[in-house]
């Protein structure tokens, strides 16, 4: 019982081929667009590479770029098949390549679905990577004289100003880290000595933040030092002050930014593109079966039938499974030869066993 059989006369076949040609070129442009999307996402991730600890999230743009390129190639092949489909002499040479084409197109659809799932699933990994990366950045903020870390100050300052955030979770992260380098501390001063003695590690901790945490929307000139001391500044209350510094943490800000980027493009664009790809796949199948039937019949210009699957879904699956197993069996040894081979093997083993006892004795 064939699946979704349809009748095609010559005119309908021609129209199907033309429509499929247009759709495949549309899919090529879609593939180019997906590739560009992948490139854009990758460049955005690479720009903030210094505050990310691992590159797990990069699998999303990598797959997007691969899918984009692969779909461009696949759909270009589809357009060439369409051009040849109405020529009786040229179409038969596509018989075997079309099988590979169907497998490739199905794989592309699956990969697109995987990308959408991954972009949601990898959020946790991104957050963890940012947590460690930002913690290191904040810890090495003061090390502007250490090679390999001298850029951390500028990176963190730029990040905080651009994304309007402060610290890892919030501005209090800066209270736990020494972000003023010892080169600029006057060790003869009593205040400095007190602060250094006040904790086990001998670090100069203060309740202040770098200038890049300052919020320009505040009506008041920025307060950076003695933040927890309400008496240190006139008309200032630490608990109720919200506008002075950025209240968001940089990890949250960056995660929101990247998730926004991936989720705004993901479902919309990718589902649209996979619809186009699926319709190209189905139309190609109809075209292939219809044209092959037309060529096989006595009248190539007459009516023919096109279908999706020759037999039902279950039977087709069993057929395919048997074929694949048959292909795999070529690698194994044939069972009929195995018995004689085993007998020979046993004989050689016996002769070896007879040879080996001599050293034991």
């Amino acid at each position: 019982m064939t699946l979704l059989k349809m009748k095609f006369n010559q005119q309908r076949r021609v129209r199907l081929a033309q429509g499929l040609w247009l759709m495949s070129w549309l899919a090529v442009t879609g593939g180019a667009f997906i590739f560009c999307l992948g490139v854009y996402l990758k460049t955005e991730l690479l720009r903030r590479d210094e505050v990310m600890e691992n590159a797990e999230i990069h699998v999303v743009p990598n797959i997007l770029m691969m899918v984009g390129l692969a779909s461009m190639g696949t759909n270009w092949v589809a357009s060439r098949v369409c051009q040849d489909s109405l020529d009786v002499s040229r179409f038969p040479r596509w018989k075997v390549p079309l099988l590979a084409w169907f497998a490739m197109a199905a794989l592309l659809c699956c990969l697109l679905l995987t990308v959408v799932v991954l972009s949601y699933a990898l959020q946790g990994s991104l957050e963890d990577s940012l947590k460690v990366g930002l913690r290191n950045g904040i810890r090495f903020y003061k090390d502007t004289d250490v090679p390999g870390r001298c850029f951390q100050k500028e990176t963190i300052d730029r990040l905080q100003m651009e994304f309007r955030c402060c610290g890892n979770n919030n501005f209090k992260d800066w209270f736990e880290v020494q972000w003023v380098s010892s080169r600029y501390l006057d060790f003869t001063s009593q205040e400095v000595k007190d602060r250094i003695r006040s904790n086990v590690d001998g670090r100069y901790l203060l309740d202040g933040v770098p200038f890049s945490c300052c919020n320009p929307a505040s009506p008041r000139p920025c307060l950076q030092n003695h933040l927890t001391d309400s008496r240190a500044h006139y008309n200032y209350e630490y608990q109720s002050e919200e506008l002075n510094l950025y209240s968001r943490g940089c990890r949250q800000a960056l995660t929101d930014y990247y998730m926004g980027l991936m989720n705004s493009t993901g479902p919309g664009v990718l589902s649209l593109f996979s619809c186009v790809q699926m319709s190209v796949l189905l139309s190609m199948r109809y075209l292939q079966t219809a044209v092959e039937a037309a060529i096989a019949s006595e009248n190539p210009e007459g009516e023919s039938e096109g279908y999706l699957l020759d037999k039902g879904v279950k039977e087709t699956y069993q057929d395919v499974r048997a074929k694949v197993l048959g292909l795999l069996k070529f690698g194994q040894v044939d069972p009929s030869e195995d018995a004689s081979g085993a007998a020979e093997g046993a004989k050689t083993a016996d002769t070896e066993k007879a040879a080996t006892p001599t050293p034991a004795s």
Binding site: E154, D157, S181, C214, P219, R220, P221, C222, Y234, N235
Partner: protein
């Protein structure tokens, strides 16, 4: 003696008409580009509108927008004319319009040139306008509670961060104005009262700058207060310290940015002007050669095309006399025309 006479065969005329048709359509595109450049410039000037005071420099983008639109219209008409000129019967439709069209386009190209020169000449007015605007903005930096000025703090902070500049000419401009509002000054403290009494106008002046002046390339956490006091900070000398704050003044930074934009736009407009002029020359040659073909009667013959029929001086003289005679046409014509009278009496007697 004609100016720059060129002989045209039929095929050359046809090819000239086709080429001019394409060039006119390209000119429509360049006109659209001029229009969009004018809009871009208008948007850029409006973005910094709060920092520009006094002089109105909106006339430059307005001119560019108008010129762009008119260029689109003129070249669209020119394209239609040239398309019809391939066929000499259709040319008769446009015959009377072509000369006025060419004259109008010639004066229009002057407008394009003026537009280009304005782009380059805007520099000085812009500098004055920015100077006044920045001084005012810095003065009202502290007035975040006054309606109409409450956004100036945010504007100036974002400007200093984005353009990497501080103050009008340099960071010392901040020492001369009170940029901390009285709402945040503890008037009971002796230090505050001393500072207020130290100058005639009673302003709270400090040797400190807002945080947006801080240079992110500095290896050291930013020093914003007591900048001129070397002993206030460890290992600090304010005369040699260059990386702590932004050294450039915001007026200079903004001016550089705008000058760069203006130069690019001016250059594009000049190129457009040259292109328009060459298209106009082609259209003039086409018009004169087609008129000569009509005068000769044979559509397939060779004809001459020129820029001016007589030399420049004679053309100027004839045009002046035409303009003078236009003035005289209002007077009654009292000259004796014997031929007219004879014709009239002959017909009356019949």
């Amino acid at each position: 003696m004609a100016v720059l006479k060129v002989t045209f065969t039929k095929t050359k005329r046809d090819k000239l008409a086709q080429v001019l048709w394409i060039l006119n359509w390209i000119s429509v595109v360049t006109g659209a580009i001029l229009f969009s450049l004018g809009i871009f410039l208008k948007v850029e000037i409006n973005k910094r509108g709060e920092l520009m005071a006094g002089r109105d420099i909106q006339y430059v983008p307005n001119m560019l927008i108008a010129v762009g639109l008119i260029a689109c219209a003129i070249n669209f008409l020119g394209g239609k004319i040239c398309y019809d000129c391939v066929d000499s019967t259709k040319f008769l439709r446009w015959k009377l319009i072509m000369l006025p069209y060419i004259v109008c386009t010639f004066f229009f190209t002057f407008c394009v040139l003026v537009g280009a020169l304005m782009c380059y000449g805007m520099h000085w007015e812009l500098e004055e306008s920015l100077d006044m605007g920045l001084t005012q903005a810095m003065r009202f930096y502290k007035d975040t509670d006054t309606p109409g000025r409450c956004f100036l703090k945010h504007t100036v902070d974002m400007l200093q961060i984005e353009f990497q500049c501080c103050g009008n000419n340099g960071y010392k401009d901040w020492f001369q104005i009170q940029w901390i509002s009285n709402r945040y000054l503890d008037m009971s403290k002796k230090e505050v009262v001393d500072r207020l009494r130290s100058n005639v106008e009673g302003k709270y002046l400090t040797d400190g700058v807002p945080y947006s002046c801080c240079n992110i390339n500095s290896p050291r956490p930013c020093i914003q207060q007591q900048i001129t006091n070397n002993s206030a900070h460890f290992n600090y000398e304010h005369q040699t310290e260059e990386l702590n704050l932004w050294m450039k003044g915001c007026r200079q930074a903004l001016l550089e940015s705008f000058t760069h934009i203006m130069r690019s736009i001016g250059f594009t407009v000049l190129i457009t002007w040259l292109f328009e002029l060459s298209v106009l020359t082609g259209v003039r040659y086409l018009q004169t050669s087609l008129e000569n073909v009509l005068r000769q009667g044979d559509p397939n013959s060779d004809s001459c095309g020129w820029l001016l029929e007589n030399s420049l001086m004679e053309t100027a003289r004839t045009n002046m006399s035409i303009i003078k005679s236009l003035g005289k046409s209002n007077q009654i014509n009292t000259e004796y025309h014997p031929t007219n009278c004879r014709f009239f009496y002959e017909n009356v007697s019949k």
